[in-house]
Symmetry: C2
Subunit: 144 residues, 2 copies
DNA sequence: TATCTTGCATCGTGGTACGATATAAAAATA
DNA sequence: TATTTTTATATCGTACCACGATGCAAGATA
């Protein structure tokens, strides 16, 4: 057993809190920018991320389950998200011939166009901000 | 004027989409981890971030307006968030003597203890994941 | 065929942020 | 000083979104 106190294995100091807070601030800023870009196009960031994930998938399409896993969502949350995207005309469902339980989701022409516009803006913002993110990450003090 | 087409200033290619999608995936993973840690302690990530921001502030306290700006929220959204934190016994309001319009928010003893526990877990997880984030960022193809 | 597993869908609920609006204090101006 | 404007917090109704619980259909297994 160690000699040090066991319950509070030593509190974080101000510098560690500052580092952690700084990183979260950078992330919030990044996400706020993303929300602004998406919002201007009438989308939420989740919808944008769904479109992006589908576009970046192997053949440009994914099952709902795969999308759920990619987005770290429950199956039925992905179902609802795809439902909203379909209603907006950005994606289309189609039953998988191999396994009729599966539903394959792919971008519509409109969805692909909308995504491309947003993705370019995001990429531009990221190349401007990535140094800040990396700085805030590398500035994180070691915890032990 | 440039000779290139002006409307679609050239679409993003697969590699660019993969890079962008990879970065977002890393972020989602990070946030999902954070949600898991916070959830186990009965908090949302927003509440955690609010506690963290207050703790990291100059003298361990902030006005509601300052918190709103820090969290990239509207004033009244911060009001509500602070209300929920106060109800949970994690922060306390106190009127600013200098400017009686202001309300100063600070952590309660319980809030500080809860935050410290969560912050240490986050810091631990971050030092494991930051390389992934940095890698996904540096792997981003240049857009122009 | 009977049972189990997997994948998608539906419904009701809760949390959270927002716009619109209100109230009070401070600052600016007449 | 009195009036107006600005600033800071608060309240209310609305909408979005993810979740748990549950259901249904298709495939897998016995």
């Amino acid at each position: 057993m160690k000699a040090r106190a066991k319950k509070p294995p030593q509190s974080m100091d101000d510098a560690q809190y500052a580092g952690l807070a700084g990183f979260r601030r950078a992330l919030r800023q990044l996400m706020a920018d993303s929300e602004r870009i998406c919002g201007a196009a009438g989308l939420t960031t989740q919808r944008f991320q769904a479109l992006l994930a589908i576009r970046a998938a192997a053949d440009g399409s994914m099952s709902i389950g795969a999308l759920a896993e990619e987005l770290v969502l429950r199956h039925h949350s992905a179902v609802e998200l795809v439902g909203r995207l379909e209603l907006a005309g950005l994606v289309q469902r189609q039953s998988d011939p191999q396994d009729k339980r599966r539903v394959i989701v792919s971008l519509t022409r409109q969805g692909a166009a909308r995504l491309d516009e947003l993705a370019r803006e995001h990429a531009k913002g990221l190349s401007e901000n990535r140094d800040i993110i990396i700085a805030s990450l590398t500035a994180l003090p070691e915890t032990d």
